[in-house]
Point group: C2
Chain length 200, copies 2
């Protein structure tokens, strides 16, 4: 609660006060208990509001998470693009989708999210984002009886995190100015191998 504490008595605090209280409670819950271990009801309880108000302001739990992490885009949208790709084109699709997103006007927000994650004030939240939100459906899709896919998607995350940093934060040339097609040609096979290839 950053300086906008308001009285609890009488009517609800103004919209921005309730929103902030919900975000604050959600940040703590997600960070401590992860995405799966957090319920809208618990967040609402912590914030002293009705669960319906949480849904009203933020939509689904995934959307609430996106708001907490200050994601510039609903992860659902990205996941739908991934889900529509044939498995043998998933690597190239993930690289093309993410790099295109970072090159758009949403890129600076993606960099801001990354900076927050790397600043390390809240590694629990970052882990939760990758393990339970960003990577979960791709993991489930590539899982087999002998390999749950979690190592594979973590490897994918390592390559894509590094690409975001090299291209958008450090602006390492010639990678920063490389056309998306060239990035996809270079990095798509890496991600595809991490997803479905032989890992040695």
């Amino acid at each position: 609660m950053t300086g906008e504490a308001q009285g609890r008595s009488g009517r609800r605090p103004g919209n921005s006060g309730a929103r902030a209280a919900i975000l604050d409670a959600a940040r703590r819950r997600f960070s401590e208990n992860g995405f799966d271990g957090t319920s809208i009801r618990a967040v609402a309880g912590d914030a002293g509001v009705d669960p319906a108000l949480v849904h009203h302001y933020f939509g689904s739990k995934r959307q609430l998470f996106a708001a907490v992490v200050e994601l510039p885009i609903d992860p659902e949208v990205v996941m739908r693009v991934f889900a529509a790709a044939p498995l043998d084109e998933l690597g190239a699709t993930m690289v093309r989708t993410l790099v295109t997103l970072w090159d758009s006007e949403l890129g600076s927000a993606a960099v801001a999210v990354l900076r927050t994650m790397v600043a390390g004030t809240d590694p629990g939240l970052a882990r939760s984002f990758f393990v339970e939100v960003a990577l979960e459906r791709v993991r489930a899709r590539i899982a087999t009886e002998t390999d749950d896919g979690s190592g594979r998607v973590a490897l994918v995350a390592s390559q894509m995190l590094g690409m975001l940093i090299a291209r958008k934060v450090i602006e390492l040339e010639p990678l920063a100015a490389m056309p998306v097609d060239a990035v996809v040609a270079a990095v798509g096979p890496t991600v595809q191998r991490y997803l479905t290839g032989e890992l040695g």
Copy 2:
């Protein structure tokens, strides 16, 4: 100069004052002019000391740079390991060397360097580190008449940066606990392909 300004008259300021002045001048020069565009003489001039004192305190220009970036290890040592590897084992060697380093007691310092770079207060310094110090000799080694190798080493940097973040900052499992051999088996071929393979 952070609160330890000392008079210029009479004897040199104490060792720590001169060291701090040199580091301060070097940070500005490296950041503005890059590694190649910075001379020990210019740094010494800015700091108001004799160039010999810079060499005395910090050794080579590369070692001065390492001190500015607060690298936990002289990059020369790492480069010698890379240089000793046969070209077709360079990918695996780079992954094994860096991951082993990060897993050692030097790992937390490596993470600190990364955090500073990603915080983005000084992208010029980070670029200079990768382009002119960390990657230059590997680039020169893989350069051909038609490809100077700069895109290839930037791709390597993207994968290794992301590995450092995933494994050591976010501690993304199962990657964070993966034995070094398994990381080398998974990521070595990626780095080898970036260095010497077909990039599409």
